[in-house]
Amino acid sequence: MIYAENILLCIAIPLVVSLLFIHADVRKYVAAFVLGMGMCLLAAYISGFLNLATGMTNNDSSVFLSPVVEELMKLLPMMLFIVLLNPNDSTFTMLAVAIGAGFSTFENCCYILTSGAESLPYILIRGLAVGVMHIVSILALSIWFVGAKRLKVFSLPAIAGGVSIAMVFHALYNLLVSKPGISSYIGFVMPPVVAGLLYILYRRLSKQSVSQD
């Protein structure tokens, strides 16, 4: 058993203090990063509760419950940013990436403390696959939101559709890696490949945005 709240406090306090001495986009990034870690903790609480309530095994819970809970928890701060701050497109994408990075960093910290960090290949897989997966799903969602806002179709169907696609991507990854063998290799490769594709799309959208300005 690990004390996740204590770990969160230990990592978050220096970051929160650093907010006093940094400005502009860096401050926003760090704040969103800390928020992402907090969302990870809340998601763990909810998943844990649902796990006990439904009587699922840990493996089943990670395949069926976690993707839904985690993507919803990542969506909440994004919606908060849109409603309260109405950031511009590039700031919004940056905040979304920070939430995803904070989420995966905290999840990795807890995982390493539980399972150990002796095996370098396993740690690299953990970082490149799960770590990147959280960034990929939220980045894709933010790009969809930005596109929907630009086209003035940012509505309930757009939000529900966007978040559900992020959930299915996440669930597909968890399903593929839940069994050893070829399926898990496909699962591990999926996030970096999609990250590469999203990078190309993101660059193209950024160029479009600059030319429009």
Binding site: D60, V68, G147, L151, G161, S164, I165, V168, L176, S178
Partner: protein, 260 residues
Amino acid sequence: MKGIEYLPTLIQIVVLIIVIAGALRMILHDEKNIKAIFFVFAIVAILLSDIYWLAYDLLRPFSRMPFAANEIAEWASFISLGAVLASDIKAFGVDARKERIFSILFVMANVALWIAWTGEWLQDIMTGFALGYLLFYLMIHLKQSESLSKTEWRILAVVCIALIAANTMTFFVDQSLASTFDQITGMILFAGEIYFITDVLLEFRKGTNPAARISLAFALFAWSITSMYMSADIFYFVSMIVSSLSIYMMFVSLKMEVEG
């Protein structure tokens, strides 16, 4: 012959990939086409749902899927397709009150049947909401585009009531009679699919009413989904193939409208 069960899903995946490629070209043709954007979104959701189901069945054979992500993808696809129709409805003032109420009652009856069959309350109710959203706008679209005659509307209502009644009866009669009712339901659903396919093809051939083309293609999709959720085994596989056909027809009808 376990592999044959995957055939309808594999066919659908191929159709979806072709449709996504074509629909992306449609967006390039007109970047601000909201209908095309929501349509692509719906199709991507169906594709992910199929891939998830396929991966699940290969990795965890013989285990019933609990509340799973592919159902969420199905909800997303229904909502997105509903949004395609909603964005096409110009005058909300069209009098489709009776049809809208009937569609809601039909979905509620379906949800009750799904719950009775599976016992999965949450996902069945959520699926009902999403499918209800699609059917709600479909009714308005069908009415607005004048795709169905008065007689066709009446036949549709009678058939829907007959389907619900026949399925309900299976819970109250003995096993042999219940399987007869199942066969009757399957035949009615299959006949409905043939009717809608013919209707869509005739509308494509006439080519005078683009809105009716879209309406009927979406109606075929909705009917095939209803059939899939109401049937098993061979009827399910046939309905899935019809669903793939309807996806292609929805795409063609939207493409014809975009490209004039």
